[in-house]
Point group: C2
Chain length 157, copies 2
C-alpha cells in the first residue's frame, strides 16, 4: 500500500505535461507549436505563472496565462499558416533563466518568400517541470535588417 501511494504521488494523472530539459528544447517546441497552430502544446511551453509576458509584433503587452492563451487562440484560429526559420541566435544562459535574442524569418502560406525578420527576445525559466517560456517580446525589424540606426525615427528612441 505504501509503495502504491508513493507511485501515485510521483505519477499524477496530468495529461499533456511536457518537460523540456533545456531552454533550447523549449524554444524548439515553441516554434513547432506555432507552426502547427497547436494551442495545447503552445500553452505547455509557457510557465504557469501570472507574470508571463507576451508581446506580439505591433501588439499590446499581454500579462498572465489567460491573456497569453487567448492571444494564441485567436492567432491559431485560422490554422497553420507560418513556417519559421530562426537565425542569428544570441543566448545567455543563467542557472534559472535563459535569454535568447533571435531573428524569426517567417514564410507565410501562399507567399513566395519569407517576410523581413521579426526580432524576438525569448526568455525561459527553469521550473519544477523543466524549462518553460517566461516572456516573448517580438517586433518587426526594418525592411532591411541592418545595423544602421539612422533608419530609425529621429526623435523617438
Amino acid at each position: 500500500m505504501g509503495e502504491a501511494i508513493i507511485i501515485a504521488c510521483s505519477s499524477p494523472p496530468v495529461v499533456n505535461t511536457l518537460v523540456f530539459p533545456t531552454p533550447q528544447d523549449c524554444e524548439a517546441a515553441f516554434y513547432d507549436a506555432f507552426e502547427s497552430a497547436d494551442l495545447e502544446t503552445m500553452m505547455a511551453v509557457w510557465a504557469e505563472d501570472e507574470d508571463v509576458v507576451c508581446v506580439h509584433p505591433a501588439g499590446p503587452r499581454l500579462v498572465g496565462v489567460d491573456q497569453v492563451r487567448e492571444s494564441w487562440r485567436q492567432i491559431f484560429a485560422s490554422g497553420p499558416q507560418l513556417r519559421f526559420h530562426i537565425k542569428d541566435s544570441q543566448i545567455l544562459r543563467g542557472m534559472l533563466l535563459s535569454i535568447h535574442s533571435v531573428l524569426e524569418h517567417i514564410l507565410v502560406s501562399g507567399e513566395p518568400r519569407p517576410r523581413g525578420p521579426i526580432i524576438a527576445t525569448n526568455i525561459y525559466l527553469l521550473t519544477d517541470h523543466g524549462w518553460r517560456m517566461l516572456a516573448h517580446h517580438a517586433s518587426p525589424a526594418p525592411a532591411q535588417e541592418s545595423v544602421a540606426p539612422e533608419a530609425r525615427p529621429a526623435k523617438l528612441h
Copy 2:
C-alpha cells in the same frame, strides 16, 4: 610598500565607473541617462559585453557594445528631449539576471502630452561591477494600450 600596492590594486584609476547594487538602481540610471542624453553614463549602465542586445522602437537589432554606443550617440546628438514615466513594471529577479517588463510613457519636448506607451523588456546582469544592462528591447504599443489581441494584424503573430 606592500600596503601601498594593495591600495593601488583595489583602487584602479578608472574614471566614471558606476556600480549599481540592484537592478532597480541600474534601471533608474538608464532612464536618467536617457533623459539627460548623457552618453558616458548610458554606456556605464550597459555591460561591457559583446553579447549586449538593443532594439530601439522600429529599429534593427543591435549587438555588441560598439553598435549599442553608436545608436545612443546618434539618439543623443540632438540633446535632451524626452521625459520618461515608467509604469506597470513586471519584475522577475534571479540570482544573476533580472527581467523587467515596463511601459514607458514618453513626453517629447514641445509636445503637450505623453505619447502612447513603448513596451520595453529590460534585462540586467549581475557582473563583477554590480548590475548592468544586458538587453533592451523596445517596441511601440498600439495607440490604445489594451489587452485586445484583435487589434493585431491578422496573419502575423
